[in-house]
Symmetry: T
Subunit: 157 residues, 12 copies
């Protein structure tokens, strides 16, 4: 497939998008896992909040993968690729207490947002169109990050 | 968590649901991978058909995982669990020709439906409520299977 | 086309589904005929009720026919097949009085439901997935049957 | 039932509408039969296109039958009437290859449109209101005809 | 205001449309009056059916009045104009029994449809565009006429 | 029909509601007449604003008439009753300049609101439930009144 | 819980709202019972009309109960409370003929509306905000009352 | 009313459905009572969750009652029947603390699900169509049960 | 492509439809140009009104072009064809004052409607189905024409 | 601008509405401030609940301001007017703990509702139409008040 | 709260977002004030246009405030903060003539857009994600600016 | 009209937007032409895909033209301007084979995207707000480009 980008720009941008894709699929699986296994007094509230993260992650996984295809780079979202290259700490097996789920999501979202910012820097010189996709995506991830972080604050403790 | 099922019934049903969950997540990842990487004259038609499979797989993954939780068995849908226990043949890396994508989906859906039928047999003696979920799910998978299979028929060849 | 069912199971199940398909198309044509030709004081009320039957019949005809295809049996819903194999009493030509339309529908729905129950028994041993489709369909037919039957009751007579 | 039309006009218009009704029911059954039995590489695309024909045929069957009733002529849409008086070539039993389904629909739609044009001429002298219904209906049938015909063109052959 | 029609055509068409407008406003007021005052066992069914007539009459009153304006003829829908030139028999004051309401509507709709047919003839030579509006409107009125008429039929009496 | 109100309360409340009904029908006819005949630079804006008045008037005419029926008083909304008892100044025949339409509506709405306030006083002693309907209705009329009045203000003149 | 009302006003208003709540729950159960058990020629029409009453009763039960809570009075809608304090005549067991269902609803609605009017009087001096809720609710009940009553009228008998 | 089931099957199935109906109405009243009287830090989250239970209970009460009618058994959902035969522990009067509401619902849902499973066993031999309704209903109840139970878990205690 | 029309009828009808297509595309471009460049006190009102014309023109361009294809005549809507054969006066470059935009649209719509009437005459002898499309289209254009014309009227000048 | 009210009534009513307007704008700003700055375990639940208050406040601010305009009194909702005349305690700068936000809203809503009740008394003698608006508004504010108050209750403390 | 940005970047970006927030709240209050107080011939058109500005301002105020929170800076949208730091010229008290409202909005939007452009420059070096939010927001403000400006143009003056 | 940009920035940005506008209108006309004239086995699938391109082109033409107006540059979208300055290869007259339509769109989209990238570079120094519009637009064009390109791939050839 031909690309609207020259060779070097395509390679760098393609790697940034591929990394973003793996992060987003991983994030959607972790959030679903917590969505199903969460227990504790805040069950219902966090149960729904986790599905908001899943919705963001799935929707941007599609955008990012199709952006990769659009610049001529085949995206790779296979289970083994995700399992092998994902950089987030895997959740434990079994039921997860509500505050642990919040702690887990805060950490995963911070990691993902930080890696996205590095990709924003990289694509600044290779493809502003892809960068624009990453900017919108990072704003969403950081908004989720703030919300989970806010739920951990307890000034009286 | 307490269960509405006795110990043995819970274990057998839980394993059936856990197996179904892994199959459905694996199926959703394979169909998305093909959705993004498909090429060839039938691109648009199959591109959309693959997303129909994703929608079925995601929706029933949720139903099956929450059914497991409802009988007191924590579902496991983590990336590594899926990568390690999934039974379908992984798609190749990179662009995939349209007829290869159809061939791939036909095989995966046949495998998944066949394993679901074994789970229907198992749960017949342990939990009719879970079996009812699997019956509806299998009808959907076999309908997708028919549609991909129908696209492979060519009487003039 | 390959089938997820072995030969014998496929044949028995396929015949059950084919019989259901003919009944449902016949039912939709009879209910539409009455919908158009009904006269009498209860015109409007029954006119709409008949279209509810048409909606049920058409929707399940699709489900049943595609289920047949999904198990590798080509469904046959041609006009001549319906005319030749349908088991319901054909309505008379021309305008039909409202109470006659109700009488007609009560009889047709009782017949159809009774034949569906026989198919539920047959498929119990050949395909639980198809049986599950027939269970849902029969519940709908028997609900319509109750409603038309209720309209015939008159305790003061 | 009284009619807004004099005797002769009613008879001629009523026959035109009755003929249109049978054609439309027959067309809806043929298109559904093909919808369920089609196989081949263009399965999905034609599968949906056939349902567009069904939607047109069902919707206009209702309009035409109720127009007949509105001029005091009871419409006849019973299975045996359709089987006995329909003028289209019946599709074969069993699976139908995609290009054969297109060929079949092109022929049926050409037949139906041609008969509708004759009815437009007849009603020009008996009922302009009914003719207006037939004009809109014929425009829809000829649009479907163009679309199936367009799919048969292959300039390189 | 200029007109797309010459003087004579404008006058004749304008009178046809003005007549139609008065009939439609009158019809909407009569149907609403019956909608509010109806009593008897068929209250609910006829109560709604009368509002269907109101909806048709109001919607076509708008179309017809704006068509008159579009050919440069100011439409006149004032209460006194309607009261002075309307040709339908006014309903009595007070509660109206259900079968009397049906009888009333059948008569009014027959009158209106018959006058619309005369206007269709007149506009055939002066403005086919306006005639097309009247054709669609008459089809709707005659459909309502059939439905009320059908409710009066009682073959056993 | 029995009434939830004693004789005197029923009579007084019934007259208030009947008066409101005639005002609302008259208002809807005047606003529609202006909607169709308006000309001038502000055509489009006032054309839509007039239909907002029609919507309010029609919706509350229904509420008021059914409230009358609910207290056992048959409402009278016939064309001749409206023409004979309406208290608003009838609009002239033919095209109406935009500022004249605004002037007309301002006057009609002021009249209607003022009569409604008298009815609010009357029903304060006979039926608080009907009064509550009139309060909501008057708020809507006075809001329309403000809007038309605001359009007449021109401080630079 | 603190209340925006002083002690005496709170007690009186709270009793009025509690009485309204029991009436509304009772009404919803009676209407549902009739909805399920009705038989006779007017089955379909009354079957739907009864569900309109259920919708009104359930929606206002929520409004009334939450209004009680809002003034600091815990609402009591338990089955035993309803069974012990409800003031309506209980329907008989088993199928109910259509005209008996209408008779039953007319009586229940008249009773409920009459008790609501007493509560409107009581709250006039204790809480105008709660009274406003009761006014809207009574208008709805009396509208249902008119409709069932209208269906009992038969001038020819 | 005739039944599609023989005498014995009808009696057994009818009793199962009647029992389910009483449970569902009782459940809807208990959940609404808690919905209105809940207090405590988790007010809003549980307030909405309780309404989800009400929605499930009301929707299935309708399905179950109409299924009873469809097999010729008149359903009984009167207040006194519910109060006399309901098997759940009645909630206390007045405000209820959030964790007590969760405790209450967990117990009620466990009771209801357990009785539904007994009815699933009974109908396995008398009516598979009714059993299919009970299977879907039990899956919903057990899902609600899991959710309330999950909210009680606190591993740190 | 075969045509449902004989050679001569096809040619004449095809030319009428091709002429209509060019007029509609030209009209949509002119109205959009004015939509973007309009200035003056009536900006907002005319800005939206122009988009209503665009919507009509685009929707009928599709209908007309597909009607041409349906009778076997390939429609030509290319930019150069439109630029070379369009018969309307092109708008000037740059900002356009509001009254000039109204003047422009009035002229263009009058031209287009007048040419459509000639096409209605031509197709009266060659294809009533296509004529019916042109009738509906002309009614819409003349309604837009009336509205812009009405905005130019100022009786006080 | 003329007013439907005499001078004194207009002044008193106008002041009541102006006071209500300032309270509602102030309330919407306070609730938004808390919506953005809230932290703590109940973040998500209260975050949404605060936006419900914003929706109520904004919607009624519009109703109240337009009611003031409708009686000829120009409403004043400018930032400085709100800052100078608002009577609620301003929230602190920066993050706000969840229970502090609840405490703040409970106090603000109690204040607002209490002032609204005074305005209800005032307008009882000057304008029942405006009073009706204030009654509906106060019911909404007191419902929000109950909900925040309920969240503060903790019987175990 | 932790921030995804280093200290300096956080401070600069936070100030830019806080400034944008105050501007947007101020803009929403000014536009609402004009929405309520506008008078003159263009009342209706500008009345709606002002609400479009309110919608933009409110929606972006939320986005900007939550973006500030997401980078760890508590947003400040209190009435006194807005009144003290807002940079726009306050509208006068009382009714405002339509052309004055347009003049006012043109000036406020020009001011706001100009300050937003300065913030776009500042955030170019501190946070591209926040800059992307400001870019979208400025495009909307400048579009509103164009529309109000266009309404002031009058080439004939 | 004043501009938020200085003279030089306005000129450069204005030219970039004007170029984008012409490209988008040209693209919408070419895609519609193909949409109407396409023939061949892939008719239906490409027929719809072409309309997706039309939707993108029309929607962004509006955004781009209004952005030009917002910076004070009158956009020029007249037919002759498009015909004279468009840079894409015009499609041939008459029917177009499906693979030729795909070839044509692939080329046009590649051309358009390449010119948009040049405009992105130009506006980087003159107006980041306009650049942001072009980034989003280019992402959409390149996605369409990928999809048509993917349909041309055939690894077996």
């Amino acid at each position: 497939m031909e690309s609207p980008l020259p060779e070097h720009e395509r390679t760098v941008t393609g790697e940034a998008l591929q990394g973003a894709l793996v992060d987003l699929i991983e994030l959607s699986l972790i959030a679903k896992q917590a969505h199903w296994n969460i227990i504790g007094p805040r069950f219902r509230s966090i149960h729904f909040q986790l599905d908001d993260v899943v919705a963001t992650a799935r929707s941007y996984a599609d955008t990012v993968a199709e952006r990769a295809a659009a610049i001529g780079v085949p995206p790779d979202g296979r289970a083994t690729t995700v399992a092998d290259t994902a950089g987030m700490v895997a959740p434990k097996e079994g039921w997860v207490q509500d505050y642990d789920a919040i702690e887990l999501m805060t950490r995963c979202l911070a990691d993902a947002a930080s890696r996205m910012r590095a990709r924003i820097d990289l694509t600044d010189k290779t493809d502003l169109v892809s960068q624009d996709v990453l900017l919108g995506l990072t704003a969403k991830l950081e908004k989720h990050y703030w919300m989970f972080q806010a739920e951990q604050q307890n000034q009286s403790l």
